[in-house]
Point group: C2
Chain length 485, copies 2
């Protein structure tokens, strides 16, 4: 049997010497990359199939050297990537894989801890408890929250709504399900601007899209509590069963902030589960002068904030808080015989709080990121991003033919170009063309959204590498694209 030279053990891992050499090279590559991701275009050419055409379509029969694989990564894969760490990435919500987060992921991979049970990683479980509590303190929330780290806000919101569905033990959804019994349709309420993850959770949970009731927002895109109260009353009168309200601190499209305190009043009166989606905006609680944006969150039953969005942590790291872990556990706990442990009544086994059994050691990266920046450093950076957004909005407001489309309480600005010469019916298409043009530059990547019938452009600031110079470049590109043919 001939083995490629890098395999020191035919049954073992790639040899230690090879790993060490390649890993040191990779450190240098990554250090250069993180130092200036702008050496690459932020968006690659948008040609479907271009990467596939560079790849081999059959699996390799023989082992290949790591050096060759990494070479191929650079020549075959890298040219087709979108660079989320690029300072010109201002689409969706910009984020950052910071140095401490990247190091933590490296370490997490090597340790490969699966913290499904306390026993399978006691320090992983306890660090998750302590670190989520650090975040709670940083955001100015009171004591009494149970914290856990999920992959995504999609999951955290689904968990919140699953708990809401189980909050009345008499329904016993976990055992009986929703079909084949005399149960009214369950209803969930959120703003017309709330995130699609709520709809997807409702689809997944068997609640159904039709039962996600979108509540009208005011002129500043905030859910109207009176409209919420009316919708709930109308549904109760029609025989529906309201179970939860989702309020948002920083909606995805326009970063508006629902009046959580007033919504909490409604939920208290109606005995509904209140979930607050702060996936993006929740981090603002770390900035003293922005903390008021989280007013009322402490009254919620659950709350999600994503460290992998605006808290400098690599994907994925969604921090989920609930005041009612007992209900969450009732919704999800099921201990197979092989997972029973002597200590199970004395510890938190995180597998009991969701449908996901396996769990990566995500607490490690959050712990390292929070320490590497510190509370003051985090507040300073979040504040800076908000100031950059205000600067950008100022440029838009001051420019002829441009308008800011919504308030910008955080670091994201919605705006559009409404030049004199373009007929009203063509303004949307005009802005869509601007988007395509600036995105072709390779210097910036922005996205859009619809505010009702209005197409607006979005600049979302959130990467630690984005500074005033990149913002100025974005603005120059936008102005040039707007005045083009």
């Amino acid at each position: 049997m001939t083995l490629p030279p890098h395999e020191s053990d035919p049954y073992g891992d790639v040899g230690a010497a090879d790993f060490r050499e390649r890993a040191h090279e990779l450190v240098d590559w990554i250090a250069r990359y993180l130092d200036a991701p702008e050496r690459y275009p932020v968006l690659p050419p948008l040609v479907p199939g271009a990467t596939r055409a560079r790849l081999t379509l059959e699996p390799p029969q023989q082992a290949e050297p790591l050096a060759k694989i990494l070479e191929d990564f650079e020549s075959q894969v890298l040219p087709g990537l979108t660079h989320w760490n690029h300072p010109g990435f201002m689409a969706y919500f910009a984020n950052t894989a910071s140095a401490p987060g990247v190091l933590a992921e490296f370490l997490m991979a090597a340790l490969n801890v699966n913290g499904m049970l306390w026993r399978t990683g006691p320090a992983a479980t306890e660090l998750e408890q302590v670190t989520t509590d650090w975040l709670r303190q940083l955001l100015g929330l009171s004591e009494g929250w149970f914290g856990m780290i999920n992959d995504l806000a999609s999951t955290s919101t689904l968990y919140a709504l699953a708990a809401a569905r189980e909050a009345d033990p008499a329904l016993d959804v976990r055992r009986k399900g929703l079909a084949g019994r005399d149960l009214p349709a369950l209803r969930i309420y959120c703003s017309q601007h709330a995130h699609s993850s709520i709809d997807k959770a409702a689809m997944t949970l068997g609640i159904g899209l039709d039962n996600v009731i979108r509540i009208e927002a005011d002129a500043e895109f905030r859910m109207k509590p009176a409209a919420l109260r009316d919708a709930i009353a109308a549904d109760r009168a029609a025989g529906f069963l309201p179970i939860a309200v989702v309020a948002t601190v920083g909606t995805t499209s326009i970063t508006s902030v629902d009046p959580v305190d007033a919504i909490a009043d409604v939920c208290a009166e109606e005995k509904l589960w209140l979930h607050v989606d702060g996936a993006y905006g929740g981090v603002a609680g770390a900035v003293p002068e922005l903390r008021h944006l989280l007013d009322g969150v402490d009254r919620a039953d659950s709350f999600v904030v994503n460290a992998h969005k605006w808290l400098f942590t690599p994907m994925d790291c969604s921090v989920f808080f609930t005041r009612r872990p007992d209900v969450l556990k009732r919704a999800f706990s099921l201990v197979a015989a092989y997972l029973e442990t002597a200590e199970q009544d004395m510890v938190v086994n995180y597998m009991d709080y969701g449908f996901q059994l396996g769990r990566r050691f995500r607490a490690l990266k959050l712990w390292m990121v929070l320490r590497a920046f510190g509370a003051e450093g985090i507040a300073r950076r979040i504040r800076h991003h908000c100031e950059l957004a205000t600067t950008f909005a100022g440029w838009v407001k001051a420019a002829h033919g441009w308008e800011v489309a919504a308030p910008h309480p955080f670091s994201t600005v919605c705006f559009r170009h409404v030049p004199a010469g373009v007929p009203p019916g063509e303004v949307n298409a005009h802005n869509a063309r601007i988007l395509d043009r600036v995105n072709e530059s390779g210097d910036i990547f922005i996205s859009h959204t619809m505010l009702g019938p209005t197409y607006v452009l979005r600049v979302a600031i959130g990467n630690l590498r984005t500074g005033a110079d990149h913002l100025a470049r974005a603005w120059a590109l936008l102005c040039a694209a707007a005045s083009g043919p």
Copy 2:
């Protein structure tokens, strides 16, 4: 404003020089770690709160140097970890964070690609398509499977059952949900030995635990197709709505293999969705002489195999295949305005095939692992693990007072000690004591399961570092523990 020396930019990331220096140190640390994880006890002392007591309970106000954070990792966190990469880890399903996988995770973290849309990482999407197809070929499956990578089999199985729920468009569960309408209870069938993720999926999807029907298994722990057929008929007669059957190739407790082909016959007759759970055992398809264990899988509607279990890939990497991506998409697709792109009808946007919007660039690690070992190298290693299991089972069979409790088609052996002197009613407790004793050694970590009323010990071989010597050590520890007071 005074800044700690490692912060070169008060608004930016940790300085590049600091990152580079620490990363090189970390490479050396990780290389040493991966070379001999057995320098640490596989299980730490099982003292709840021990890690917490070493940690600071308030978040840091000031930034701290990376070097200090990594030092604290080693002194505060590491002593409380379970070492999944330890050669003595033989609990649950042993797995491996191999060198190529660890390097890939490092790179993934730095790139931080979120492949929710094709546009947000064209190469991530296309590499996922190509790499999952490589795996399909490696396992000997025919063409026509759509592949995607999820976090966990918990998710993949939930996605399969969500698709099954949506397979009849007339039900329109996505829109109407399951409650408040004239719908019979939906039913799912699986073996009495199937994994709890099926129950958890049923709880999550609003199907309910009561509607997961556990089908009797034969003496070798395989689902009885005749019993399945009877259960479906009885349920139909009673007004239930059967929607899916889950067959397992390598059940979690005992690694038995359901007769997938015969079950596929039943599903074809009854027009039910067939999902095959090969989270652990599916990888055996890569070994020519074991490929028959996957007979019938090609007839399924969906199939899951976890690369992070027995395919040397760090957590998390669950490969999900379906022959009916259109149905999966109907169950989950919902495109918010801000996620619409010009190319959406020409490409795969993976966000359309699940409730999870964000997605890590997991294809990169699978691609690197498959290349680093190659088809032959993978088959050789899987085969070796099976041979080790056979060796171990041979020791058990030959030893007085010990018995193998089930067939071992893969790399996992269930067994127990039934010594002459112990009354039948105390045999379970006797084996539980053996488990505790060997796990206290720090040299091995094994788990248990229940086969009906019988408590059995499990040795699961799956880490690339585990060799005959570690197995011999495990056996010596077991024999010593069994003969102790």
